[in-house]
Point group: D4
Chain length 251, copies 8
Amino acid sequence: MTQEKLLDLLEQVRDSTVSPEEAAKQLAAFENLGYARVDHHRAERQGTAEVIFGEGKTVDQIENIVKCMMNRGAGNILITRLSKEKETQLRGKFPYRYSDAACLMTANPMEQTLVGSVAVVSAGTSDLAVCEEAAQTAETLGSRVERIYDAGVAGLHRLLAELDTLTKARCIIAVAGMEGALPSVVGGLVSCPVIAVPTSVGYGANLGGLAALLAMLNSCASGVSVVNIDNGFGAGFLANRINRMKGVDET
Amino acid sequence: MTQEKLLDLLEQVRDSTVSPEEAAKQLAAFENLGYARVDHHRAERQGTAEVIFGEGKTVDQIENIVKCMMNRGAGNILITRLSKEKETQLRGKFPYRYSDAACLMTANPMEQTLVGSVAVVSAGTSDLAVCEEAAQTAETLGSRVERIYDAGVAGLHRLLAELDTLTKARCIIAVAGMEGALPSVVGGLVSCPVIAVPTSVGYGANLGGLAALLAMLNSCASGVSVVNIDNGFGAGFLANRINRMKGVDET
Amino acid sequence: MTQEKLLDLLEQVRDSTVSPEEAAKQLAAFENLGYARVDHHRAERQGTAEVIFGEGKTVDQIENIVKCMMNRGAGNILITRLSKEKETQLRGKFPYRYSDAACLMTANPMEQTLVGSVAVVSAGTSDLAVCEEAAQTAETLGSRVERIYDAGVAGLHRLLAELDTLTKARCIIAVAGMEGALPSVVGGLVSCPVIAVPTSVGYGANLGGLAALLAMLNSCASGVSVVNIDNGFGAGFLANRINRMKGVDET
Amino acid sequence: MTQEKLLDLLEQVRDSTVSPEEAAKQLAAFENLGYARVDHHRAERQGTAEVIFGEGKTVDQIENIVKCMMNRGAGNILITRLSKEKETQLRGKFPYRYSDAACLMTANPMEQTLVGSVAVVSAGTSDLAVCEEAAQTAETLGSRVERIYDAGVAGLHRLLAELDTLTKARCIIAVAGMEGALPSVVGGLVSCPVIAVPTSVGYGANLGGLAALLAMLNSCASGVSVVNIDNGFGAGFLANRINRMKGVDET
Amino acid sequence: MTQEKLLDLLEQVRDSTVSPEEAAKQLAAFENLGYARVDHHRAERQGTAEVIFGEGKTVDQIENIVKCMMNRGAGNILITRLSKEKETQLRGKFPYRYSDAACLMTANPMEQTLVGSVAVVSAGTSDLAVCEEAAQTAETLGSRVERIYDAGVAGLHRLLAELDTLTKARCIIAVAGMEGALPSVVGGLVSCPVIAVPTSVGYGANLGGLAALLAMLNSCASGVSVVNIDNGFGAGFLANRINRMKGVDET
Amino acid sequence: MTQEKLLDLLEQVRDSTVSPEEAAKQLAAFENLGYARVDHHRAERQGTAEVIFGEGKTVDQIENIVKCMMNRGAGNILITRLSKEKETQLRGKFPYRYSDAACLMTANPMEQTLVGSVAVVSAGTSDLAVCEEAAQTAETLGSRVERIYDAGVAGLHRLLAELDTLTKARCIIAVAGMEGALPSVVGGLVSCPVIAVPTSVGYGANLGGLAALLAMLNSCASGVSVVNIDNGFGAGFLANRINRMKGVDET
Amino acid sequence: MTQEKLLDLLEQVRDSTVSPEEAAKQLAAFENLGYARVDHHRAERQGTAEVIFGEGKTVDQIENIVKCMMNRGAGNILITRLSKEKETQLRGKFPYRYSDAACLMTANPMEQTLVGSVAVVSAGTSDLAVCEEAAQTAETLGSRVERIYDAGVAGLHRLLAELDTLTKARCIIAVAGMEGALPSVVGGLVSCPVIAVPTSVGYGANLGGLAALLAMLNSCASGVSVVNIDNGFGAGFLANRINRMKGVDET
Amino acid sequence: MTQEKLLDLLEQVRDSTVSPEEAAKQLAAFENLGYARVDHHRAERQGTAEVIFGEGKTVDQIENIVKCMMNRGAGNILITRLSKEKETQLRGKFPYRYSDAACLMTANPMEQTLVGSVAVVSAGTSDLAVCEEAAQTAETLGSRVERIYDAGVAGLHRLLAELDTLTKARCIIAVAGMEGALPSVVGGLVSCPVIAVPTSVGYGANLGGLAALLAMLNSCASGVSVVNIDNGFGAGFLANRINRMKGVDET
């Protein structure tokens, strides 16, 4: 709730158009399921409905949260890190779309017009799951996505061949495990924001993705920022936000 | 150099308008000072001139790199992490602006029209240096900046009072040391991209800023990405890039 | 054994009311089962019976320890981190209460009058198991508990709506994984002791809960202390101790 | 501001006793000095005035913050981690008390009636500075403090000799560097809350205090919680809060 | 593609022998399978065909990549970290050789003349899998290999007895887990390059191989360099490269 | 082989009593099984036969190594970290004794006269496996062992009651997980060498035993040294060596 | 105080030979200087007087502790990690011996008959300070010491040439920085206890001595235990204790 | 000493040409200065004289070691990590060459014919010191060196412009701090061995060079191995060894 809306509300209270109890209720606009407080304000506050982190929630909890949101009209509800096993148990409970590759469910899916351009570029084939989580998140939220997979720095020409696509993107998601060098190289070639996603692909001194994470945080290229290891969702969400920005001159 | 320009160049070579030697030279458009290769293409490739990392470079090296860039017409050349001591030795060598608080020099400073809105919000007074590095970087590159300092989560009302400024920003830089909670709280309140900057402020288990860094990478709020510890420059650079984006409909 | 009791005992030895051998035995008031030394003094010394760490003990060991304690009259014996599988094998051996959600058994359960108020507030639904371990521990030891779950900082209004409950609590347990920001925000709102419990909920750079742990240790809010990752029991135990304190004026 | 006060305020707005603008101002009750937002609500919200973290602030900033608080009537304002050098520069600016041992300043000192009992027990002589920061913080806030220094576990009888003082305390602060074993041993002897403070005393594999911190977090004794390395202030603040609690029966 | 070949290509473009489109295609000489970009240039650029990292790829992906490479005439295609289970599923799809011990497949195997001498020396029997990955990689690429297994430093005479073989080798791969001391001892005895391979063999403070890795990086012997934990492939690849070098006088 | 024996050997070579080839063979007195070099010299060099690390070796390898050693007359051959499953497969291959609790096998067991006194003291019941590995190793090698289990520092009187046994021991093995405080407390009470064994018992911030390890390395008590996490074997081996020492006056 | 002495004391109390107050005093046999509790029992309990950790204590504190101990007749009082600067200020306060190389002071030095044999062997010249701290500690406590410096594993013959001295020692202290391989090699050659001391010598991935520490903890040689990084004192103390042991047959 | 020479020696002993005492002396061919054992065999064993690690040695120790080596005819003696201050004190003691940039001294410098080609390529200007240590080490040992500095991946064309030099090198040293991506990119372009040197250049999450180190260990390019952080010497030494190899066909 913006400051402006807050002042409006207070004025309505003063004018007795709204009772104090009603005002207090509006400030607390979420539903309490006991184990979860469903945040109905989020779309208004942040432009998209609440996203459900599927890991560590039971199938029943997920079903109830989704239905609670659908009752308030929410669509394209993202559920991340949802195992194939849970997906099977949710069949028939509500309409959805599910991606095996990304372990990503979209409950109550709706048509979207895709706009702009987000490029998802990856270092290797094994990064696919994270890439797809990123790409499908951005698409579900309304962005057009270009996929450039397996274009790691050990074979630079594979990357350079896609320079055209890269330079036309409004935002680039660069996904890499192992040494995580890809975002630095991409960052040196383009002039749009680059979101670096380290993955846990690798072994030994990759430390479960920490090596790639640290490399990306220390990128010598400007315009690069980083999200958590394997956090394709976070990258896709942010990329969509950047991609769909209005022009500075329009403001 | 974009793919398009590359094809142009190749066609000019075919038509003998440009010689192969000249083409090769254009592909290598930097100047070699021995200890540094000044990248004259960067502005074209990335929209801004090369930025000089002041730490670990001698005063002579800095002077030569700056002059080399000025000879090619560059202005508003940023030199980061430049100590007061080195600044003193550079007096009179070339025109510049210097900020003690941010250890940031702008060589050959030029007038800029500031556009859009970047908000820099910090958790505490001790984060000031990093905040100013971020704010002044964004300003030098052409963004209008709002400063909201010392608004950490232990006194939430201080932050909530600035909700209006926050929700109007096109990009927010959230700077915090210690537990690094600020970006998560800010991220939950706004709908623009949030760049989180961990600082080394704190002691003991802050591990020189790692605690804040890890917290920010694990942010439960969507739309948040992270840069290196104390990397105000990186945040300011990226925020400017996001702030100055053209609208998706204009593309 | 307090210094006072020690002096009493020594005086009884001097007066030959108690033999030196008997005195030595009283100083060693525990039972040795070979693999375990059951501490019968603990209730006297610390106000509650010994608590059994269920992990890494066999079902036989647990049964014997519990019975040994029950023989000395102990009730409400807590067994933490007890798997469902072990619980099944213990059926019929002795009376107990078991919580699947918390993996917590109370052997020889007894009625308690619940007093005061401990609030357990969590950041997300996935923190439920740790929360219940904390809440049920405090309840078993005699504290009244308020549960406020899924009130993380990415949707602040969910937390602020419970401000009334929070400010009335005598002690608050704040449970969070990921970035662990909740205790700092809660700590800034209340004037009672806050016990922060980091959880291992999250992935990647959460480092199995270390990110949340570090964040909580660096909390910028005063009045916050921290227990081990996922240590709901420890938080519940301490919260009960604080909640049940006598007033400073009564001393 | 409690929920109760908030409802009051809203009702006053409705009854036109308070204007919406005034209500908004009350919600934002802090003073903005640019580099700092002085939190005038904190005493009301949390029972004590804001505490100033001296490290990383300039002498001018500290002076202004203190005066800003004194103007609103605050007394016993704590400034932690304030170097001797800065203290010297602050002479004559405002009344204060300063402890060299603890690097702790109390601006605008006021008389306090000390109540209850907090025991500060340390493992070694080298932990003195942290102990004094804890002890003096608790005293400044109104608690009576008992000091038991250099009573580490390598000479248990030194600790056991103070058992009487320990068992009479309402809260114990256990301070130790190196292996950090003291809080576990103390925790096994008493029935009041124990706050463990790891210190950076030691070398090599002490990892700047991390070894002691980890040990304390893994304490096998119940009733122990932990604060940041060398955070004597945090321990003293929390101990005072616990020590001064009203009785559960009074509530 | 070397600079020389690049100039040739540009000259051919100028002379219209090659069209600009064709030139662009040659610069991008790889095949895009969507999830993988097969790098046909690598043999030319680096002397050996692309190596496939088997972990994290599906059986279908592997089959397609291999066939795509075989279509361009590649032989002795290495697939590392390929589980027995995947190998079973690949039977009959294309000709190959598979080593259970090394989890290493050689697709489209071809006869090789083995030259020079690479010695693989290991500290213990449990390092066998890594050793064989190294040894067989080097053999597949054309090097003669001597195996000296279980010759750790706790029984020095076992190593010293092989001094003759060691001093005759052109490159030595020293494989060790636990404390990783072997490469330092070997490095002190010979005058050829030594490649150290830390393994994850051990437990507790071996930290999954980090202890050995750190030891090897700090080797007091000169002429030692290190590859990733358990990276037998990397060591075998590099050893073959060194072993097969032409003489400095031949250049 | 001692320097003395070496000189003898050289003199025998000079006198042609021993041929150079035979001398070289004696210097290399081990058997090469390909995957293992069985060290027949070790008993002579170090007083006990080679010990076999069971983890990571196949059942066949273990059988062959044991038989190879038995052929040379070795008895009481220790095989550590041998799973129950492998033990089952080894039945009937050679005579042995096996402990489930310690996962320890003694092949070709022989009668021993137990001498001196080694005390194994543990903090908790869950440390049992490590304790038994230590105790049985020492017993197999000829030391009399006293077991004092579950005597952690949270109930000091349990430990103090065994002071008599502790002060009579010639060497003490102190085993603890979690905060690892036991060796420091024991070290402060006795005058014999104390070997500290950290265990991986615990969770969260115990970091798989690192917390206990670090604590023990930083012990404020003198006379304490440390072995690897869960390394009961190493502690038992060393304790036996110390326990069986001849007197300094006998030398 | 042993159990035996305790019983004696209790019996004396019963017979009224000793008053309860006197008994309590004897149990608390230390002197409280406020900042330090001087442990007069330690020599009796552990065979040597308390050792003073010089770092972090003021010159006044050290002087007072030493004098307090001398008043009770203590001699050869060790003060470790005492800087040259503090030593200068202590001149004339009490008799002492000081080693610049080891930063080690022996207050009230007394003649000792040196017995047995402790060998101190180091990897490199830069480990000298730690070696001397170890060697002089052992000498001060009564052990004869052999020094074998700069005999690291990169030049094995330097170590093998001292095999005679090594095999005659009753206890060996092996000191090494960098990769810390020395103790493993030494441990494989001898049959006496080996105390490994990691040093902080090195740079980069030596992590201030952690690399050597980890290596030593993972030593594949049996009979090796480890003390803290740079802890020459601890090694010397323990070596003396082992060296001076009575024979197992004498017990 | 090779096995062959050893047999020779033994035969000479048998034939009484060499006495056993003389043989023992030859096996121990080093000079003992007390604090250092100068290894005169090293040149024979490893092709180059012993290298002196200057850090942590006194000026006197260095002088004596150098003179001791010069007495045996050694030339081009490298002393690494020698501060300017120590160099000043060594003036006139013996002939030498000193590089300020590399903190590297060559005592008793001799003429060398430089052969082959080692390329040293660096990511940034701040890596200069490490680069020069590498380059000058290789030159002193006899290799011709090409320097390509400040060619980091954020401006790829700077690197690609030197492709010709890179592909002609027999061994490449790739030096980088920050994200350490350079060796992966270089490794993908060439077919000679690449030695990666991480530097401590950077700040925050570079963790003193660990970020670059980890990245390089995880390099997705084959043919890359790694040395310690800032270890220019180690890289230069190894590169020279590889560069000067004889051809495999000559063996």
